[in-house]
């Protein structure tokens, strides 16, 4: 989110320069960008669509509506929604504490937030299994349960909301809150009427990125979930299973569903970004 809005800002700043060399360079640049995007993103996507379409409409429908696939799609969406909501709350709180409080070790905590982004997700999964698995040193065993899957998703998506809310809080003018106070608003009222509305776009866009990430998460989940069909199997794992068992067409069909979901979320994020630009304008 932060990146995309920065990109938008850069876009509006950089005006095309005149001159023939400039024009030629622009054409070249456009060509390179188009081919690169095509190679890396569009062609694989097209291949995927082609692959799923090759299996035909009936096959598509029967694959998607098979009880196992439906269950895993449902589980994935529900868990993603739940963890996203939880992380929206916790992430906002953490960002608040990191910006407004000062305590020893704050910088350390601040850098630890990015850990889920920095370490390989399988490693994260393994760590979670060691910590909350059958041999848990703290006596909490959630391995092979929905709670375990939720935990893994919470872990990998934690930074999204924190990192999207933090800069907004940093830039927020303290005088605005003081103005509200001098107008008679209590702390809670100031938060609800002034602070929260200013943070909401950032919270929602961070949350939607986290949601998109949860939908497709594989590495962190695969170990702790145990992949019990109808109980703990998420979509990404279902797809992997189909490929493993040689059903590449089926895998492609499920992938397309996942793709559509993610695309929808990204569209929403973009809408939020525009809304936020309007608010800040």
């Amino acid at each position: 989110m932060a990146l995309s809005s920065r990109l938008a800002a850069a876009e509006s700043r950089s005006r095309p320069r005149g001159g023939e060399r400039g024009a030629a360079a622009a054409v070249l640049a456009r060509g390179v960008v188009t081919s690169y995007l095509g190679l890396v993103v569009l062609i694989p996507l097209a291949a995927l669509l082609w692959r799923s379409a090759a299996s035909g409409y009936d096959r598509f429908v029967s694959t998607v509506t098979s009880p196992e696939v439906l269950a895993s799609i449902q589980l994935t969406i529900l868990l993603s929604l739940g963890t996203t909501a939880l992380n929206a709350l916790a992430g906002t709180l953490i960002a608040w504490v990191l910006v407004r409080d000062s305590f020893p070790g704050k910088r350390l905590v601040d850098s630890v937030i990015d850990l889920p982004f920095a370490i390989p997700t399988v490693v994260a999964g393994l760590t979670l299994l060691a910590l909350y698995g059958p041999r848990s040193p703290i006596g909490v065993d959630v391995a092979y349960t929905k709670a375990g899957v939720g935990l893994a998703l919470l872990f990998v998506t934690l930074p999204f909301v924190v990192r999207s809310v933090q800069p907004v809080l940093l830039e927020m003018d303290r005088e605005v809150e003081e103005a509200a106070a001098s107008l008679g608003a209590s702390g809670a009222e100031t938060f609800r009427r002034i602070v929260l509305p200013s943070l909401l776009p950032a919270i929602l866009s961070g949350a939607s990125l986290g949601f998109a990430r949860s939908l497709g998460e594989f590495g962190a989940v695969v170990l702790i979930s145990g992949n019990v069909p109808f109980r703990t199997e998420v979509v990404a794992v279902t797809i992997f299973g189909r490929v493993e068992s040689g059903d590449v067409g089926g895998a492609a069909v499920i992938s397309v569903v996942l793709l559509l979901l993610s695309g929808l979320v990204l569209l929403m994020t973009d809408g939020l970004r525009r809304w936020r630009l309007v608010c800040d304008g």
Binding site: V176, E178, A179, A181, S182, L183, G184, A185, E189, R193
Partner: protein, 326 residues
Amino acid sequence: MSITVDRVSKRFERFQALKEVSLEVPSGSLTALLGPSGSGKSTLLRVIAGLETPDEGEVSIGGERVTHLPPQKRGVGFVFQHYAPFKHMTVWENVAFGLKVRRLPKPEIHRRVRELLELVQLEGWAKHYPSQLSGGQRQRMALARTLAVEPSVLLLDEPFGALDAQVRSDLRRWLRRLHDEIGVTTVLVTHDQEEAMEVADRIAVMHQGRIEQTGMPSEVYDHPESEFVMAFLGRVNRLGGALIRPHDVSILSRPTPGTREAMIERVVHLGFEVRVEMLLGDGSPLCAQLSRDEAAFLDLRQGRIVYVDVGAGRTFEPSQLHRAAS
């Protein structure tokens, strides 16, 4: 309502921003806190508003001690230099904020907001967002928002500091008229002596966390009690230990007892007035200001030798503060 500040001190980490400051703001007055940047004006205003807690001393509003009341309970209106608009709300919602917080009935809110928007001449802008307003309009919106809650005192922190010269002087005059109309006790922070002289009926001059002098504008200008106040409130010449204002320097064509010889370096025409820049015999510069007619009568020209009377110059006992500083 009157404001009383009694021996208030405030320290930020290692910096003593206020040193036993006492101030009386009479009910219904428009008092300016005037001083250079960093002299503690804003801190004092924020202490009155309850946005800062003093380390020592008391603040009373209308005779009631408010030192330990939060800003919500003080009935003060505070206007910030950078307007502090609620960006996600329209002009209408901004002005209505304090009334909504007070849970006033809707028709009442509508009536009050309409009146206030009229008062600050923003009737046509109710549905706009603060980002669509000019600086001057934003500040008027902020003022309307503050006046909406009918504060017993109005505190303005460099309200025109971020505006350009023309808008600034318009708003100044407008504020003065507004004050005459509604008569709410007002404290205005400014570092601009002209602004203070123009709008305020009382001025408190601040310097290094203390109030050096309080009085009517003419009092502080004509009878400064310290060198700092004299120098801060207008141009001065320094002759040895004495200070004299340019318009108190008399220029004569012939020497008389007590006059000193000076050579005219430059004559600057400033419309109705003429500024004469001179060098005294000992090489020190001296500046005089007189009317165009006087200058023409004396036939002042560059290079001429004239005789100046600087007997109106004033010397100040170094105050404790200055002795401590040197």
